[in-house]
Symmetry: C2
């Protein structure tokens, strides 16, 4: 007996066959080919699921969980729109996959799926309330209260990346100014670094830039580890911005845990000290002391494992 | 059959005998005399409840709900600390009142009580999730999700007044900088007005100041209504600050409703336009459109009625 979890991203479609206790026994990855439209993506999705089923034969498949970006009507499993899946308007994905594979299917927003994965199989196993921040291209978020995802009335809750932290700050991709995402995503890190390099600040990264190589969050972290002052300063500042946002989250929701994942979380040791200092400065003592602030544990598999947790919990016991 | 609701404030102790459907049939108000210590306040509280019971004789009292400021362990009804009730450390108020009056008692943080009152008997009757902001001396808040107060793991959730809206802004009473409370409370309104008057800004209020009279939120609102440009500008700005904070709340929690109460909400018409404009500018379209933004309906009685809703819902049906 096993479940299938799918992380349906704009670039890749990642899937896993997962045991009842959250272990991935087989994984599959395919390009999403999102630009080729709905039919093609669904074709690729089915092929990915077929591969996973074949890998587990003859063990019975119990259900499929799918996390994907966008606005989803959870109960019906209809994807209203998705920023990374062009042409996806009101696609009844749950129905399509259920009719094809004849097992129960659960569809969820990908940031919520990651948070749910961390709650049930990752960093948050021992707590019932947590807020998960995924620091990647953007800053995604999921709010888990009493063990369940808080969706809000339109399924749009958890946009921690779009808290205003600096009211007259940088313009964010969402159109607002001063969002956390504009300061603490991997993209923001790279953008800020390039700006400062262009302004002529000294850094070992200048060499990379000069050679026309791409500066990535990983390269900046590596430079920081090797004591590059500019890289260290930028990551230190990101800690401050994260701290401002997390302090607000703690004062508002008094969660048991804040979980930080995504690519940027690899730089944890560089932004953690300033982040925690800022949180302590800004939030009330009692909720700060009661909030564990930890790194995500499931890495790139959080989406797959979270999708499985969602479908397995949705089934009658 | 009736309930008693108590709003135990630092200055006054207000109580009401309330019917099953949320109508106050008799009210009582007594000074709290908080400075005289725990014993004295409890004595006054009992006297207030006695008066309310006498007013309803021989109808049976079903339970007592009490809202008060501070950090409360809800289940045991112990008040750990209270900023407005000096000396209240670990007072088992629920037990004391239950043993004296022999009816079930429910103790809750006052800002949560107000939010709960608005949910069950006020502006929020038709919704299941709302966030209530009470703009008074401070900015209090209560978060209602699925019809219930979200307490957080230490009962400290809902501190909407202490969201950071301007990271390097005014120092707040809590020690943090740039909290919503430092910009959008009645105290902030008065403080800002006096600052601008002292800087020599023209206003019809200068006259009041010159005579040594106290400038209050009410007087500033009155001046704004009479077209005083300075007062209008300050209230307009408060709308912007509220809008920044509320946009973050909407992006995070996607609630069905935002309820605004407290003394400052009397200036609603002066801050509403800039507040709504700012919210629309900052928050995502779908959650903004689905969030009703309304004035509180229960006024000064929200605390009493909310306390009753809490005790009546806590009883077995």
């Amino acid at each position: 007996m096993y479940f299938i979890g799918i992380d349906l991203g704009g670039t890749n479609l990642r899937g896993g066959a997962v045991t009842m206790d959250g272990h991935i026994t087989h994984s599959a990855i395919k390009p999403t080919h999102a630009q080729q439209g709905v039919e093609h993506v669904i074709h690729n999705l089915k092929a990915c699921i077929d591969e996973l089923i074949a890998s587990q034969n003859p063990s019975p498949l119990l259900g499929i969980g799918i996390g994907c970006p966008g606005i989803i009507e959870i109960k019906s499993g209809v994807i209203h729109t998705s920023p990374n899946l062009p042409g996806w308007n009101d696609v009844p994905l749950k129905q399509i996959i259920e009719e094809h594979f004849r097992v129960p299917v659960y569809i969820e927003n990908d940031a919520n799926t990651i948070a749910y994965g961390e709650k049930w199989y990752g960093a948050g196993r021992t707590v019932s309330s947590l807020i998960c921040l995924t620091l990647g291209t953007g800053v995604g978020g999921g709010i888990i209260l009493d063990g369940k995802i808080w969706h809000g009335c339109m399924g749009m809750a958890g946009e921690v990346g779009h808290m205003t932290i600096i009211y007259d700050g940088i313009t964010c991709n969402c159109g607002n100014r001063g969002c956390l995402e504009a300061y603490a995503s991997a993209s923001a890190l790279v953008k800020r670094t390039l700006e400062l390099l262009n302004e002529g600040h000294k850094s070992t990264l200048s060499h990379i830039c000069g050679k026309g190589e791409e500066v990535t969050a990983e390269i900046i972290y590596k430079a920081a580890k090797e004591n590059d002052a500019l890289s260290r300063r930028i990551l230190h500042d990101i800690g401050i911005y994260l701290g401002i946002g997390i302090a607000t989250l703690i004062n508002l929701l008094n969660p048991e845990m804040i979980v930080i994942g995504g690519g940027m979380s690899h730089s944890w040791d560089m932004f953690y000290p300033s982040m925690v200092e800022e949180i302590r400065k800004r939030a009330f003592d009692i909720p700060v002391k009661s909030a564990q602030i930890v790194r995500a544990q499931l890495g790139d598999n959080a989406g797959i494992i979270g999708a499985v947790a969602l479908i397995s919990h949705a089934l009658p016991t």
